[in-house]
Symmetry: C2
Subunit: 359 residues, 2 copies
DNA sequence: TCGCGTAAATGGAACGCTTCATTTATACTG
DNA sequence: CAGTATAAATGAAGCGTTCCATTTACGCGA
């Protein structure tokens, strides 16, 4: 890798001059500038950004740590953030915490050592967020995405979880469901609490009694969806609808449903948070609360960069992005009547047309 | 952010000594070392990796550029690579090329400027890979993942595409299918060619005539699966089975099938490259050629780091990883007889039990 | 032809760290 | 106690940039 010194020598100018033509930081005569550019081409010179960063005290890199890139929601988040970063000349250093605080801690430290200009964070649940406090104390700009780190005074771009869930459950209620189960996320996570709150709110406004038995405490992981789903389905008091608090748990739930031979939507209605891409190409098409993942990443990164560049100052901001309810097959064709009087008949063939066409 | 100088001052030692206790590069008396550690804790000191990198001429960062992180195959790749990187003390700088050479070029340049120690690359199709050649010429270690960049003398970790496809098509043939269509990837990509070759090989060994009409040239994107799938299904000479050359196109194909009311596996058999996570939790469960994505990333990163650290020298290596054929519902229940005599009956209800139980 | 003002080019300090040649402190031996 | 071997601590150079205070070159009017 050639250095600016070599470029300067080859062009027959001083290092300072070379730097000036590259950075456009001071006027250079046409002739010399041309010689410098030629040298750059000939040597295939790539400015050493490491040295630049040292001098400039900024790396033009953003750190991003989130639970699991393998979850399509988060990969969309990344894409959004990457686009914003790219537009503004930053690169993304990503890392997966796997919901382990220790890993998160490790990555945050590594990112700080690398002197990233700021950090995008979908925090993991923990009682010990000292690593985050210390980062904030050290003035490392942080923007929380999707999940707020509790008690941290930082910017955040979040989905309107309460509203999103509430609307979806309200939709189920409107269809006649009264026994609606929910598989929650890890309740240490505020986001999980919010979704549960949306569920409660919907029940409340419809005067439906909230029952602990219908609330299965999950953890946002596929296995939980499978296990808790099975539990719900095997219960003699089977609910007529199940709401999963994220897409990955719904995946597990679908496996459970399949194994038990339960049919959707005839035997049970399903709805879920997250509109993963397969929601539209598989059976049953899932009614889903679509989060604007890409937009969240995009806005989050822009917000962060605004902070980094001092274009935004003052109190931390919280942006709430609305979700969109996508009504699909998995909440159709269920006969409310069958629900009302006891255990649902497996073969209930409620005519589709009798239901409001709510697409 | 505090510096080592501040740490040294607070501990009452020289900078060199502080550096020695941090790096363990030279013996330091117990008492002083303790004072240094204390100062580090008190100041919440995070060594400036930028300065370190400048001095050491290595950043402990790996670049990774691939087409689209949103494709679950690639996010698995990343996870694998990240695990290897983490184990060996590296961080991953990821970027999505979106199959655009220009973007790829831009990222590769950015990564080189950042002086990453090496690059993991799933190359995009192009006739102009000068950016890669110049990187190789500059001794930037590169390992290709999934897709080989044509004519580049670099290491690669690839799937055994020919074999994987061949086995799957062979499976279809064994079920009695004779009219098997394939939706290919962008044929400029060697990987797409390999999968097509596997298809041809399977036909050949079964003495089935290769027909251009059954080969739909796609591009690995969902839209292609949808469009070409529809074309195939609307053709009066509808094939009895379709093989999609990647999971994302299969997604599109499923939409097409759904729209046209074609049932799988009764009306048509489906099989696909890539075993995306939804293959097991949705209907129809898809017969798939599972690529060891995670292992690919893991091995690729390790290979790259071996090169970076000089633990591996000499000629470029190519590692081929075997795929695994997962036989599932989407290739069951189809009556070979119905295929043999003309257009398949939509309602053919071949009994499942009459077919070999090939799980 | 000499100064002078402006524009262009240069050189060196500094960024935070590691490394290594020196210097300083400590311990041991005769 | 002097002398020496050994261990520990220090200071300065250098990594590749940028930035800025100087220096150099140039054109023009008197």
């Amino acid at each position: 890798m050639s250095t600016i010194k070599e470029v300067a020598e080859r062009a027959g100018v001083s290092i300072g001059t070379a730097s000036n033509v590259i950075g456009g930081s001071a006027p250079v005569s046409k002739a010399r500038a041309a010689r410098v550019w030629a040298a750059i081409k000939e040597l295939d010179y790539h400015p050493n950004e490491v040295a630049r960063s040292l001098k400039a005290k900024q790396t033009k890199m953003l750190g991003m740590v989130l639970p699991d890139i393998t979850n399509p929601f988060f990969s969309d988040l990344i894409r959004g953030a990457e686009n914003a970063a790219l537009e503004r000349g930053y690169l993304l250093l990503t890392a997966n915490s796997d919901e382990q605080v220790e890993r998160e801690k490790r990555f945050v430290a590594a990112l700080r050592s690398r002197r990233v200009d700021g950090i995008l964070l979908a925090a993991t649940a923990s009682k010990n967020e000292t690593h985050l406090r210390s980062a904030v104390a050290a003035d490392v700009p942080i923007v929380c995405l999707d999940r707020m780190a509790p008690g941290l005074a930082v910017d955040a771009v979040l989905a309107d979880n309460v509203r999103g869930t509430q609307e979806c459950v309200r939709h189920l209620i409107r269809l006649g469901h009264k026994k609606i189960a929910i598989i929650t996320g890890a309740l240490e996570l505020r986001i999980a609490g919010e979704r549960l709150a949306g569920y409660r709110a919907a029940l409340e406004e419809a005067d439906i009694r909230y029952s602990d038995e219908l609330v299965m405490k999950g953890d946002f992981r596929e296995e939980a969806g499978y296990r808790l789903g099975k539990e719900l389905l095997l219960n003699r008091e089977r609910p007529s609808a199940i709401f999963a608090c994220n897409g990955v748990m719904m995946l597990g739930l679908l496996v459970a449903i399949d194994e038990l031979g339960v049919r959707c939507p005839q035997d049970i209605a399903l709805a879920t948070f997250d509109d993963l891409m397969f929601a539209h190409s598989f059976h049953p098409h899932l009614t889903a609360v679509a989060q604007p993942a890409n937009a969240m990443g995009y806005q989050g990164a822009n917000l962060l960069i605004d902070r980094v560049e001092g274009k935004l100052t003052g109190e931390p901001l919280t942006v709430r992005l609305a979700c969109e309810l996508k009504i699909r097959e998995s909440t159709r064709g269920y006969a409310p009547a069958a629900v009302a009087n006891g255990s649902p008949a497996r073969s209930s063939k409620a005519s589709r047309t009798s239901l409001p066409a709510t697409t």
